[in-house]
């Protein structure tokens, strides 16, 4: 039993680790520099699914974002999570996340926008950790990220880097910090028109480099490592309504010790700008 709780504590929140709030016309799995216009409101409903050999996580989340200025957005996300692990199930409210994005630089040209933004995200330990499997690792975690985007009428390019600082749980478990590096290319077949729907195809390459976890400062053998994903996705939008979806497919892994590699991760989102 102790082993089960231990594994659950380590893995709970895998979705929260990697999922980011929807960003309208930005990348699906990685970070983009997009912000909401001044006084604009963005709301979204998202579904995430992640699985490996031993565990499946599903998460449905509602998010709300607000543009304080055209360059500064704040957002909050409330998830409902469900975890199935080695025959045991648990479901309930997940960890609430708060996020802010600030656009540091922007260059506008005809049919082109380049921008760089910094993002900070706090994932608060609001979910229950008492049941098994736990819905939260029992820590407050923080993510810092930097994203670059070059968006044009046909081609889009994004690149981002994120660092996740994982907290230490009451049980003395400290999950390893994680660095994510992403590159994305997007393409649409025709120049978008305002009163017609727009479809944008994209492929992301997402890498995750995770340090070893530790318990009471003792490194844990079967933790940490590197994973690489290729993630095809599509964004469909009509004016202020966007539907987007993608799947992360693992293509490379170098995990420490005896660990299950990720199977796939799925994300679907419906977004509305108000």
């Amino acid at each position: 039993m102790k082993k089960v709780i231990y594994r659950s504590t380590l893995l709970a929140g895998v979705i929260a680790i990697n999922a980011l709030p929807a960003q309208a016309h930005g990348p699906i799995f990685s970070l983009g520099p997009e912000t909401i216009y001044k006084d604009g409101i963005e709301t979204h409903l998202e579904y995430h699914r992640a699985s490996d050999k031993d565990e499946t996580e599903n998460e449905l989340s509602m998010g709300l974002g607000y543009g304080i200025t055209q360059d500064w957005t704040i957002a909050a996300e409330l998830p409902y999570a469900s975890i199935k692990e080695e025959g045991a199930n648990n479901a309930g409210l997940g960890n609430i996340a708060l996020e802010t994005t600030y656009r540091l630089w922007k260059h506008n040209a005809l049919g082109l926008q380049d921008s760089v933004a910094a993002t900070a995200r706090a994932i608060l330990d609001t979910a229950s950790t008492s049941d098994d499997p736990a819905l939260s690792p029992g820590t407050n975690d923080f993510v810092l990220g930097l994203a670059y985007g070059r968006e044009s009428l046909i081609w889009q390019r994004w690149a981002s880097v994120r660092y996740r600082f994982n907290g230490k749980s009451d049980a003395g478990i400290e999950r390893g910090d994680q660095i994510s590096v992403d590159a994305v290319i997007g393409w649409r077949a025709r120049v978008p028109q305002y009163y017609k729907s727009d479809t944008l195809w994209m492929v992301e390459v997402n890498s995750e480099i995770t340090q070893r976890s530790a318990q009471n400062n003792t490194p844990l053998t079967d933790t940490g490592g590197t994973e690489l994903f290729v993630s095809p996705g599509v964004i469909w939008s009509y004016r202020n309504t966007t539907v987007k979806g993608g799947v992360q497919l693992p293509v490379y892994h170098d995990l420490n010790g005896d660990q299950s590699q990720s199977d796939y991760r799925l994300k679907l989102a419906l977004e509305l700008i108000l």
Binding site: D39, A109, L110, G111, L112, Q193, Y194, K196, R239
Partner: protein, 191 residues
């Protein structure tokens, strides 16, 4: 068929111009707008303003067009602020005397490349450049610009490509491919 529909629509609209009496079209150049969902903030901001009736944006040409009451005027400072708050750059404006529902593209294209506006009476001399795929219109090249000509009924020229030709008519809009469309009343063929 699409072309016929467009022309019919324009003719109908011309007949109902009085419905838009007291309206003007304000066309603004924008930089940085690359998708419809991101331009929605502009629509929201403009439509909050009393007197703004309709909003459209041509992303390819970077042209925002709004139909407004004719007494509604914006200063460059106001427009700059609206565009900045939407995340874009404002690069200037042009006011059209009427707002008849035509896409901003036609106005923009004509103004930018030929110095023409919808409704202008023109007399152009150029080179015959073949008949359109639907066999109803033909192309005329004037100073490197391709113009689509709707000939009078039964007056389709039968000429070799490159033959000089003079067309008199009225600018009626823009084709789906971006060419200025002229409804010809007179076609002067050589000889």
């Amino acid at each position: 068929m699409k072309k016929i529909t467009l022309i019919s629509t324009l003719i109908m609209l011309a007949g109902f111009n009085s419905a838009y009496a007291g309206e003007i079209k304000q066309v603004m150049q924008v930089h940085g707008a690359v998708c419809a969902s991101c331009a929605y903030g502009l629509e929201k901001k403009f439509k909050k303003i009393d007197g703004v009736k309709r909003f459209d944006i041509n992303l390819k040409e970077g042209l925002v067009s709004i139909c407004t009451d004719d007494n509604l005027k914006f200063s460059d400072e106001q427009l700059t602020q609206i565009f900045i708050e939407s995340g874009y750059s404002y690069k200037g404006k042009k006011i059209e005397p009427s707002c008849d529902g035509e896409s901003s593209s036609a106005v923009a294209h004509a103004v930018n490349k030929m110095g023409l506006n919808k409704g202008d009476e023109v007399s152009l001399t150029g080179l015959f450049d073949g008949v359109c795929d639907d066999g109803k219109d033909f192309y005329l090249v004037v100073k490197s610009e391709v113009i689509e000509i709707i000939p009078p009924s039964g007056a389709m020229p039968n000429l070799a490509i490159g033959t000089p030709l003079t067309v008199k008519g009225i600018v009626v809009g823009q084709s789906e491919d971006g060419e200025v469309v002229i409804e010809a009343s007179v076609i002067d063929e050589p000889g």
